[in-house]
C-alpha cells in the first residue's frame, strides 16, 4: 500500500516536472545556433569516430587546423595517420586518395579551394567517377572531395570560379551544395557514408554564418538524402531555385517581393547531381513561373540545365519564359565595385522575379 502511495506521489511529481522539461527542451532547440564551420567540423568528427576507414587528406588540414579551420582539432583527436598534411601537389595527393578508395578506405580530400581541384581533375573524373562503370561494379570509389567553391571576396579571377556545372556534367559523380548548417551536417555525413565519389561544394563566405539547428540535426546519426531538394519557403506566384549562398539571397529577395504582393517559393537545391527534377517541376507546375539563381558563369550552367528539364517536363505549365540569373560572363574582376557587379545581388533576383510575373520593374 505504501508502494502505491509512493508511486502516486512520484507520478504526481513527475507530472509537475515533465511539462517544465518539455518547455525547456523546445525553447533550447529553437535557440540553438551553429555555424556552418562547426557543422562541418562536427560531421567530420562524428564520421571519423564511427568508421576507422575514414581519413582526411589535404593541405594544412592537420597542424594548421585547416586553412579555414574546418578540420580544427581533428589531428589532435585522431592522430597523423588519419589526418594527413600534404605538400602543395593536388594531382599527386588526389591520385593517392583515389587509389586508397579503390582499396576500400574512405578518404575525405580537402581542396583549399575548388580552383585548385583543376590540377587534380583527371583523377576526379577519370580515376574516380568512371571506375565503377568501367569495372562493371567491382571497383567503387567511396571518396569525398570537399572545399570552398565559387566567389569569395577580393581574391581575383583564378580563385573565384564555381565548379558546380563542370562536375555535375559527369556521370558517376554526385555533386552536393549545402547552404545552411543543417545542410552542411546532413549532406557531409551522407557524402562520407556514400559508396560513390561525391564532390562537396562549400562556400567560404558561409563558413562563419550561424543558423538555428534542431536536436534532431545534432544527433550523430543525422543524415540528409542525396538527390533531394528542400523547399525553404513555400509560395505560390513564382519559383526561385538556387544553391549555396544564393539560397540566402533568394530568401531575402522573397521577403522584398512579399511586400509587393508576390509570394515566392524558394527551393534550396542541395544536390546538383542528381538534380531533384521532380521537386523543381512540382513547384513550377504550382507557380507557373521560374527564376534560377547561381553565382557561376551563365553558359552551360546549372540554370541552363534546370530550364531545359522544366521545358522538357512542364512546358504547358509555364506562363512566362524562365529567368536565368547568373554571374557575369567574365573572369572575376578584383576591384570591389566590379566584383559586386559580377555576381548576382538580391536586387537582381527581385527584378527577375518581377519580370517573370510580368510586373513593371523599377
Amino acid at each position: 500500500m505504501l508502494g502505491i502511495v509512493r508511486q502516486k506521489t512520484l507520478e504526481q511529481s513527475l507530472k509537475k516536472i515533465r511539462p517544465a522539461v518539455s518547455v525547456l527542451r523546445s525553447y533550447s532547440s529553437a535557440a540553438k545556433q551553429m555555424t556552418v564551420r562547426e557543422a562541418l567540423n562536427s560531421a567530420l568528427d562524428e564520421e571519423m569516430s564511427a568508421d576507422s576507414k575514414v581519413f582526411l587528406i589535404g593541405e594544412e588540414v592537420g597542424e594548421y587546423q585547416g586553412a579555414y579551420k574546418i578540420t580544427k582539432g581533428l589531428l589532435d583527436k585522431y592522430g597523423p595517420e588519419r589526418v594527413l598534411d600534404t605538400p602543395i601537389t593536388e594531382a599527386g595527393f588526389t591520385g593517392i586518395a583515389v587509389g586508397a578508395a579503390y582499396y576500400g578506405l574512405k578518404p575525405v580530400v580537402e581542396f583549399m579551394t575548388f580552383n585548385f581541384s583543376m590540377q587534380a581533375i583527371d583523377h576526379i573524373i577519370n580515376s574516380a567517377a568512371k571506375s565503377n562503370y568501367m569495372s562493371a561494379g567491382q571497383i567503387s570509389v567511396p571518396i569525398v572531395f570537399r572545399g570552398p567553391n565559387g566567389a569569395a571576396a577580393g581574391v581575383g579571377a583564378q580563385h573565384s570560379q564555381c565548379y558546380a556545372a563542370w562536375y555535375a556534367t559527369c556521370p558517376g559523380l554526385k555533386v552536393l551544395t549545402p547552404y545552411n548548417s543543417e545542410d552542411a551536417r546532413g549532406l557531409l555525413k551522407a557524402a562520407i557514408r556514400d559508396p560513390d565519389p561525391v564532390v562537396f561544394l562549400e562556400n567560404e563566405l558561409l563558413y562563419g554564418e550561424s543558423f538555428p539547428i534542431s536536436n534532431e540535426v545534432l544527433d550523430s546519426s543525422f543524415c540528409l538524402p542525396i538527390g533531394k531538394a528542400k523547399i525553404e519557403r513555400k509560395g505560390k506566384h513564382v519559383t526561385i531555385a538556387a544553391y549555396s549562398k544564393m539560397v540566402g539571397y533568394s530568401l531575402k529577395a522573397a521577403e522584398i517581393l512579399e511586400k509587393d504582393g508576390i509570394d515566392a517559393e524558394v527551393i534550396n537545391l542541395r544536390s546538383i547531381r542528381p538534380l531533384d527534377r521532380s521537386a523543381i517541376n512540382d513547384s513550377v507546375r504550382k507557380t507557373n513561373r521560374l527564376v534560377t539563381v547561381e553565382e557561376a558563369f551563365p553558359q552551360h550552367g546549372v540554370g541552363a540545365e534546370i530550364c531545359a528539364c522544366v521545358v522538357e517536363e512542364s512546358f504547358v505549365y509555364l506562363d512566362a519564359p524562365v529567368e536565368r540569373i547568373a554571374g557575369a560572363d567574365v573572369p572575376m574582376p578584383y576591384a570591389a565595385n566590379l566584383e559586386r557587379m559580377a555576381v548576382p545581388q538580391v536586387e537582381d533576383i527581385v527584378r527577375a522575379a518581377k519580370r517573370a510575373c510580368y510586373r513593371s520593374v523599377q
Binding site: D85, I88, G156, P333, A335, N337, E339
Partner: protein, 251 residues
C-alpha cells in the same frame, strides 16, 4: 637579380609578385592602386594583388595557382630560343611549389630541348603553414635537377644573388636549364589571413629581420595616399578585355 639581367630577359613568378613588379620598372602608385582595386593600378584594378604584369619589361606576372608559373616560364624560354633572342627566362617559385609535378615535367623538357630557363626556388622554408621538412623528402631544392645543375645562394646577400644570376644567364644560354635555390626568410604570414605565428616563434622572425625599412617608408606612404585618391574602375570595364579581338560581351 635585376643588376644581372636586362629587360630583354623575362621574369615570371607566383602570387608574391609586388616587389618583382617594382624591380621590373613598375611604380609604387601602380602597386598600391592595384591592391586597392583602382584605375591607376597596373592591371587597372581587374587583376588584383596576385596578378601584376608588365609586358613591356618582360614581366609576365603574377600567378595564383601554385607551380603554374614554372611551365609558363619554360614556355617563355622556348619562345626566346625560337626567336633567337639571346635572352633568358627566370621562373621564380617557392619551396612549397617545388614539389609540384609540372615542375619536373618542364625541367625534363627544358633539358631535352636546351631551353634558356633558370628555375629559381625562393626557399623561405615555409609553404603557407607547412615547414619544408614536412613537405619535402629532400629539401635540397637545388639538387632536384638530377640531370640539370643547381646552385645554392644566400638570398639575403644581394651581391651573391647578382653573381649567381650572371653565371646562370651565361650557363642557360649555352647549356640549357639550371636551378638556383635562394635561401631566404618570410617575415610575415603567408597572406592577410595568416598571422604567421602559429607555426613558428616570434623570436625566430625578429632574429632575421633587418632595418632597411625606415628610409623607404615615406615614399611608400605617399604612394598609398595617392592610390587611395584614385577612382575605382568604370562599370563598363567589367566587360572589356575578355578577348583580345571581337566577341565582346553585350550588356
Amino acid at each position: 637579380m635585376e643588376a644581372a639581367l636586362t629587360k630583354k630577359d623575362c621574369i615570371i613568378t607566383s602570387y608574391r609578385d609586388h616587389c618583382t613588379f617594382v624591380a621590373r620598372g613598375g611604380t609604387l602608385l601602380e602597386v598600391f592602386a592595384e591592391l586597392n582595386g583602382r584605375q591607376a593600378g597596373c592591371s587597372r584594378g581587374k587583376g588584383g594583388s596576385m596578378h601584376f604584369y608588365k609586358k613591356d619589361s618582360n614581366f609576365y606576372g603574377g600567378h595564383g595557382i601554385v607551380g603554374a608559373q614554372v611551365p609558363l616560364g619554360c614556355g617563355l624560354a622556348f619562345a626566346q630560343k625560337y626567336c633567337k633572342d639571346e635572352a633568358v627566362t627566370f621562373a621564380l617559385y617557392g619551396d612549397g611549389a617545388a614539389n609540384q609535378g609540372q615542375l619536373f615535367e618542364n625541367l625534363n623538357i627544358s633539358a631535352l630541348w636546351d631551353l634558356p630557363a633558370i628555375l629559381v626556388c625562393e626557399n623561405n622554408h615555409y609553404g603557407m603553414g607547412t615547414a619544408e621538412w614536412r613537405a619535402a623528402k629532400s629539401p635540397a631544392y637545388y639538387k632536384r635537377g638530377d640531370y640539370a645543375p643547381g646552385l645554392k645562394v644566400d638570398e639575403m646577400d644581394a651581391l651573391a644573388v647578382k653573381q649567381a644570376c650572371t653565371f646562370s644567364k651565361e650557363h642557360a644560354l649555352k647549356n640549357g636549364p639550371i636551378i638556383l635555390e635562394m635561401d631566404t626568410y618570410r617575415y610575415h604570414g603567408h597572406s592577410m589571413s595568416d598571422p604567421g605565428s602559429t607555426y613558428r616563434t616570434r623570436d625566430e622572425i625578429t632574429g632575421v629581420r633587418q632595418d632597411i625599412e625606415k628610409e623607404v617608408r615615406k615614399e611608400l606612404d605617399n604612394a598609398v595616399a595617392q592610390a587611395k585618391e584614385n577612382p575605382v574602375p568604370e562599370s563598363s570595364q567589367l566587360f572589356t578585355d575578355v578577348y583580345a579581338k571581337g566577341l565582346g560581351v553585350e550588356l
